[in-house]
């Protein structure tokens, strides 16, 4: 069987289809930034440790640096550029603006994408390592600051703007509660369960 080191793929990003040839070594992060000019997704560590490249794949938060673009073919990818609707910021974006949930801003797109994914996970009833009791009978864990910190621990902020980030996420959770969180959904997870 012959070896081929590149493919022509179609990526679905923010509701649009993009067909492009890629070397198989191209990560989803590099494809978004260098090939599709979607530079909102940031490259921090490039090894899955900082969360700056967080994007939603099929509605779930993931890091784009540890996925090959060729393996993301056919999946629905949502980047920070796709979060606003009709010129209206996503409630999480608005909360970060209102509460200064950043300093330099480099980690912010990843923080916001992660928070949107996280709120959907929480709305779906997922426990976290901060949850007192993970058993279903205990009911869903309230989204306390401690829960937010634990659930957002995959996003580092070198400026250490964490206090405002936690406030912004809490504000967005209150404003937004079930509605938009349910949209971005951990639905596929429910199906798999």
């Amino acid at each position: 069987m012959g070896l081929s080191t590149s493919s022509v793929i179609t990526l679905h990003v923010n509701g649009e289809k993009h067909t492009l040839p890629v070397d198989h070594r191209t990560t989803l992060l590099d494809a978004l930034r260098e090939r599709l000019d979607l530079t909102g997704t940031k490259k921090g560590c490039d090894q899955g440790q900082c969360g700056a490249c967080t994007v939603l794949v099929d509605g779930r938060r993931t890091v784009a640096c540890l996925q090959f673009a060729v393996a993301a073919e056919g999946r629905e990818i949502t980047t920070i550029e796709g979060m606003a609707t009709g010129g209206r910021l996503h409630p999480v974006q608005q909360a970060f603006l209102d509460l200064d949930g950043y300093q330099c801003g480099y980690c912010t797109p990843g923080q916001i994408c992660s928070a949107i994914g996280m709120l959907a996970e929480h709305a779906a009833g997922w426990p976290s390592a901060a949850s007192e009791d993970v058993r279903p009978a205990a009911g869903p864990a309230p989204l306390t600051p401690e829960e937010i910190r634990e659930r957002m621990s995959g996003n580092l902020c070198r400026c250490s703007a964490y206090p405002s980030i936690v406030e912004a996420v809490a504000r967005a959770a209150d404003a937004d509660d079930a509605s938009s969180a349910a949209d971005t959904s951990a639905q596929s997870g429910e199906a798999a369960a």
């Binding site: 198989h24 070594r25 090959f68 996970e121 390592a129 009791d133 993970v134 995959g154």
Partner: protein, 330 residues
């Protein structure tokens, strides 16, 4: 990174056939470890066989009353599953103690079991490492080893297995199911990782080319009261320096049944059978828990910079068992 061919596996037998035909191929699932190792040059596959879309993403009841977890179930889905949370809470807690929300959404159960050590000498291709390059030596023995093994290590390798999930699975008597070109097989999780001895490069007992297809859990009433506790150098999103998975059944003040496994102390999840034997039938007291932990840790052979792990594991074991004891009393 070395160039590579990429194939989406059409089905399990197709995936296995692709690997069987090519010793330089690797399975790709969540990629959270493999992609990173390809970037650093530790892994240099000529072909990736993508197995993530295979229909192995269900958690189903088994005829014996247990659960079978498909190999491509993500860590997130495993941790969130009501049956796991209710009947095997230690497993949900272990999975949630590992990595970050993003990585748990990507990582799979099969991949988690096969992830590689985070020993810094293993991941640095400019350094010798008997696991990566057999016979080249182990710089960790005389170097940076504050988070290395205290149990079951050898002169060849003192690296620890990084998985939290596998520690809970070891305590729960899980069985790993796999497939090769020759057919299906299974291995108790306890036998998945062979002793290090002189062959640290041989990390699993799986036959060459095997694809893990699932993990089954027996019905295990003792697991209803179980928990996982992990100690690490920061509050979240870090590998363990020590962890304990435990399940305890206490009746009339006596330990009737117990399951205990340690993490971050050996090249594999360490099922603490010596401690279990000391627990079962003994009075449910802090003295019993301490004596059991000490019996297990008699085999510990710490290195100059990781001796702290011995009292850490002793105290952690006593703490977790005492918590389960209190939970039983409520």
């Amino acid at each position: 990174m070395k160039e590579f061919d990429y194939r989406k596996a059409p089905d399990v037998s197709g995936a296995v056939a692709l690997l069987d035909a090519d010793p330089d191929a690797r399975y790709l699932a969540g990629g959270t470890n493999l992609v990173d190792l390809m970037k650093s040059g530790v892994e240099r596959p000529a072909r990736l066989v993508d197995v993530r879309q295979l229909p192995l993403d269900r958690i189903e009841s088994t005829p014996d009353g247990g659960l079978r977890i498909g190999a491509t179930v993500t860590n997130s889905d495993l941790a969130a599953h009501p049956g796991i949370r209710g009947r095997y809470p230690v497993l949900t807690q272990a999975v949630l103690a590992g990595a970050s929300g993003q990585l748990r959404n990507m990582a799979t159960v099969g991949g988690n079991l096969l992830q590689r050590t985070r020993c810094a000498y293993f991941t640095d291709t400019t350094k010798p490492c008997n696991k990566r390059d057999p016979g080249s030596g182990c710089p960790a023995l005389g170097g940076e080893h504050h988070n290395h093994a205290i149990l079951g290590a050898s002169e060849s390798c003192v690296a620890v297995h990084p998985s939290d999930m596998a520690v809970a699975l070891a305590a729960l008597d899980a069985v790993v199911h796999y497939e090769t070109a020759d057919g299906r097989g299974e291995l108790p999780l306890d036998q998945l990782y062979p002793p290090v001895a002189g062959t640290p490069d041989r990390e699993t007992a799986l036959p060459a080319g095997a694809l893990i297809t699932g993990v089954s859990l027996p019905p295990l009433p003792v697991a209803a009261r179980s928990r996982y506790r992990k100690v690490r150098e920061r509050a979240s999103y870090a590998f363990a320096i020590g962890s304990v998975a435990a399940a305890l059944d206490i009746r009339d003040g006596i330990v009737r049944d117990a399951r205990l496994a340690f993490g971050a102390v050996a090249s594999r999840p360490w099922r603490a059978r010596t401690a279990e034997q000391a627990l079962i039938g003994a009075p449910a007291t802090a003295e019993t828990y301490a004596a059991a932990a000490e019996a297990e840790l008699e085999a510990a052979r710490p290195l100059p910079h990781n001796g702290y792990k011995v009292p850490l594991m002793r105290n952690l074991t006593v703490a977790v068992l005492s918590e389960l004891d209190e939970e039983a009393a409520r």
